[in-house]
C-alpha cells in the first residue's frame, strides 16, 4: 500500500500515514471506554459508601461487571494498541506492516467490546469481569470478549511484523530502542495472555450455548488467571516503557545502563506471567509445590525486575538533571525537575505510587501466609487501583499530554488545568487505594453490596475505623473521578477546539531522525554513566518501608490465631 510519512516539526517524530490513523482511532476508542468506565465508577463508589448505598444489589453487580470490563480491558487494551503502533512504526521510523490487518484489529475490538457491554447492560451477565463458573453469562458476553481478544492478538502480530519491516528496511542499526523493547515485552506477554484466554473462554462459550455440560470450577480459575494476571503484566510492561519514554522526551534522559534495563525486561518475559498463581493461593485444588514455585521463587525474579526499573527510571532522570547542572545536595535534581509539565508530573507520580503502594501491597498479597489475612477483602481492589490506576492509567494519561500536540496536531486547552490534573487524579487515587487497603485489613469484603449484613440473624459489629475508611473511600473515590473527568474534558476538548498546530513536512519516504530533538532521545541508544546518590536514598526508603510493612503483616498473622 502506498503511504506517506509526516515529520512533526516540534518533536521530530515521524508518523507514517496508516500508523497515524490507527493510533488516533485506537486512542479515541480508549478514551470513550474510560468515559463509560468512569461513569460506572460513580455507581460503584456511591454504593460502597455506607452513607449512600446508591444502587440496589442487582444493579450494583451489573455496574461493577461493566466497571471491571470497560476499565481493565476496553480502556487499557485499546490504548495499548496505540502504544504498540507508536513504539514500532514511530520510534523505528518505518512503515506499519499490513495496515489492513491493523483495521481488522480495530474493528474486531470495537465489535467485541460493544457486544460484551450489550450483554452486561441487558442484565443477564452480572458475573464480574472474572466470570467464574458455574455463574453463567449470556453467550454474547463471552463471544464479545473472544472477538476483542482476537483483535488484540492481531494487533500484536502487526507490531511484530513492523519490527521485521524495520529490520528489513534497515531503519535502525544495532538493537531496537529501549521503549520499543518494553513494548515488545508487553506484546509477548499479550500473546500468552490471549492464547490462554482463548483456551478457557471458548469452552465457556460452548458451555453457555449448552454444547458442553460443565466446566470444572478449579480448572476455570487456574486457566482464567493465566489471562487475568498476565494481562496486568502487559500493562506493567507498557507503562514501564512509557516511564522510559517521557523523561527521554521531556529532559533527554538516557537509561543508566541499557544492559541492566533490558535484562530486567527479559526477567519480565521469563517470570512475570508465572505469578498468576498468586490469585490461587487460597485454592484447595493446587499443590503446595505449584504455589510455592510459581509465586515465590519465580515471582521474586519478576519483582526484582520491577525494582530495577524503579531504580533506573528515576536514576536516569537524576543523571540527566545532574548533567544539566542541578548537582547541589542529594535532591536538587528532584526539586528542579519539570513539575509543571503534566506529562512529567504524571509519569513521576505513577512511578512513586506504583512502587510504594502498588508494589509493596502486591508483594504482601503475593505471599502465601499473609495473603490469608487479606484474601478477597477490599484490600485487593485497593492494591490494584494503585497498580492499574495510579500506575498504568496515570502513565497513559501522562503520555497523552505529549501525543495530543504531536499526533493529533492540537495544542492542549487550559494549560493551567492540565498542570493540576495529574496531581488531582494521582494523589486522590493513591489515598483512595490506601483507605481501601485499610478497610480490607479490617476485614471489609470486596464485591459486597451490603457490608452490614442487614437482617442477618447474627450481626457483626464493625469497628468504627472500618466505617470511616469506607466513607473516605467514597469521598476520595469521587475526587478521583473528578480528576479523571477533567482529563477526558481536557483531551476531548483539545481535539475539538484546541489550536491547530503545524503538521510538518510530508514525504513519501522515511526520513532520518533530526538530531537533538525529542525523537532523537526516544530512539536513542547508550547509557548515562553518572552517579545517582539521590535515587539510592529513595530506593532505600522504599526497601525500608517494604520491610517494616511486611513485618507488621506477619505480626498481624500471628495474632489471628492468638499465638502471641
Amino acid at each position: 500500500m502506498a503511504t506517506t510519512y509526516r515529520t512533526c516539526p516540534a518533536s521530530g517524530l515521524q508518523f507514517e500515514a496508516h500508523a497515524e490513523k490507527l493510533m488516533k482511532w485506537n486512542a479515541v476508542a480508549a478514551v470513550l471506554w474510560l468515559l463509560v468506565g468512569g461513569i460506572t465508577a460513580i455507581g460503584v463508589i456511591m454504593t460502597r459508601w455506607p452513607a449512600f448505598k446508591l444502587l440496589p444489589p442487582d444493579q450494583f453487580y451489573t455496574i461493577l461487571t461493566a466497571h471491571g470490563v470497560d476499565m481493565l480491558l476496553c480502556w487499557i487494551i485499546f490504548f495499548e494498541m496505540a502504544v504498540l503502533y507508536f513504539a514500532s512504526s514511530v520510534l523505528l521510523r518505518c512503515r506499519l506492516a499490513t495496515p489492513k490487518w491493523g483495521w481488522v484489529q480495530f474493528w474486531l475490538m470495537v465489535v467485541g467490546s460493544v457486544m460484551t457491554n450489550v450483554a452486561i447492560f441487558q442484565g443477564e451477565s452480572s458475573v464480574m469481569f472474572t466470570s467464574y463458573v458455574p455463574m453463567m453469562a449470556a453467550p454474547h458476553f463471552y463471544l464479545g470478549l473472544i472477538l476483542f481478544a482476537v483483535g488484540a492478538l492481531i494487533g500484536c502480530f502487526v507490531f511484530l511484523g513492523t519490527l521485521v519491516v524495520a529490520k528489513k528496511d534497515k531503519t535502525y542499526t544495532g538493537s531496537i530502542p529501549m521503549v520499543t523493547f518494553g513494548a515488545l515485552t508487553a506484546c509477548i506477554i499479550a500473546i500468552f495472555t490471549i492464547l490462554t484466554g482463548a483456551g478457557i473462554l471458548l469452552p465457556t462459550l460452548a458451555w453457555s450455548l449448552g454444547l458442553i455440560k460443565e466446566i470444572d470450577a478449579q480448572l476455570y480459575r487456574m486457566v482464567w488467571w493465566g489471562l487475568g494476571h498476565s494481562s496486568q503484566q502487559i500493562n506493567v510492561s507498557a507503562h514501564v516503557a512509557i516511564w522510559y519514554l517521557i523523561p527521554a522526551v521531556v529532559i533527554g534522559a538516557k537509561p543508566l545502563s541499557e544492559k541492566v534495563s533490558r535484562g530486567a525486561f527479559l526477567m519480565y518475559i521469563l517470570f512475570l506471567q508465572l505469578a498468576s498463581a498468586h490469585h490461587l493461593l487460597s485454592d484447595p485444588g493446587m499443590s503446595a509445590e505449584w504455589k510455592v514455585l510459581n509465586t515465590s521463587y519465580f515471582m521474586y525474579f519478576a519483582v526484582m525486575a520491577s525494582m530495577i526499573h524503579g531504580f533506573t527510571v528515576p536514576g536516569a532522570i537524576e543523571a540527566a538533571q545532574r548533567r544539566k547542572g542541578f548537582t547541589n545536595g542529594l535532591f536538587e535534581w528532584l526539586r528542579k525537575a519539570p513539575w509543571g509539565n503534566p506529562a512529567f508530573a504524571g509519569m513521576f507520580i505513577s512511578l512513586v505510587s506504583f512502587g510504594f503502594l502498588g508494589g509493596i501491597s502486591g508483594v504482601v498479597l503475593g505471599t502465601e501466609q499473609i495473603n490469608m489475612l487479606m484474601h478477597n477483602t477490599f484490600y485487593v481492589p485497593g492494591h490494584f487501583h494503585t497498580t492499574v490506576v495510579t500506575g498504568t492509567t496515570l502513565a497513559f494519561m501522562a503520555v497523552t499530554y505529549l501525543l495530543v500536540p504531536t499526533l493529533f496536531k492540537r495544542e492542549m486547552i487550559h494549560p493551567k488545568l492540565c498542570q493540576i490534573q495529574p496531581y488531582l487524579f494521582g494523589i486522590a487515587m493513591s489515598i483512595t487505594g490506601l483507605v481501601m487497603m485499610g478497610a480490607g485489613t479490617l476485614g471489609v469484603s470486596r464485591r459486597h453490596w451490603d457490608m452490614a449484613f442487614s437482617g442477618a440473624p447474627f450481626q457483626y459489629e464493625w469497628p468504627g475505623a472500618a466505617m470511616l475508611m469506607m466513607g473516605m473511600t467514597g469521598f476520595f473515590g469521587m475526587v478521583t473521578i473528578v480528576g479523571g473527568a477533567l482529563w477526558i474534558y481536557l483531551v476531548v476538548g483539545s481535539l475539538l477546539w484546541g489550536k491547530k498546530l503545524e503538521g510538518g513536512a510530508v514525504s513519501d519516504k522515511p526520513t532520518p531522525i533530526p538530531a537533538a530533538t525529542p525523537a532523537a532521545s526516544a530512539s536513542h541508544h547508550g547509557s548515562d554513566h553518572v552517579g545517582v546518590p539521590g535515587t539510592v536514598v529513595l530506593v532505600m526508603a522504599l526497601l525500608v518501608s517494604f520491610v517494616l510493612y511486611y513485618f507488621v503483616n506477619w505480626k498481624y498473622l500471628s495474632e489471628v490465631w492468638l499465638l502471641s
Partner: protein, 49 residues
C-alpha cells in the same frame, strides 16, 4: 540484528535482539510451568466421595 551475526556481539545482546526467540520463550515457559503443571495438579486431586 542483521549486523549482529558476527562474533563480537555478546551472547546476551544476541538473545535480546532475537525477538522471535523471545516470543517463543515467553509463551512456552509459562504454558509449561503454570498452565500444564496446573492441569496436572488438578487432575491429581481426588474426587470427593
Amino acid at each position: 540484528m542483521a549486523d549482529n551475526d558476527n562474533d563480537d556481539v555478546p551472547f546476551m545482546q544476541k538473545l535480546l535482539d532475537n525477538h522471535f526467540l523471545l516470543v517463543v520463550i515467553g509463551v512456552v515457559s509459562p504454558t509449561v510451568l503454570y498452565t500444564l503443571w496446573g492441569i496436572v495438579d488438578i487432575m491429581n486431586t481426588p474426587l470427593a466421595k
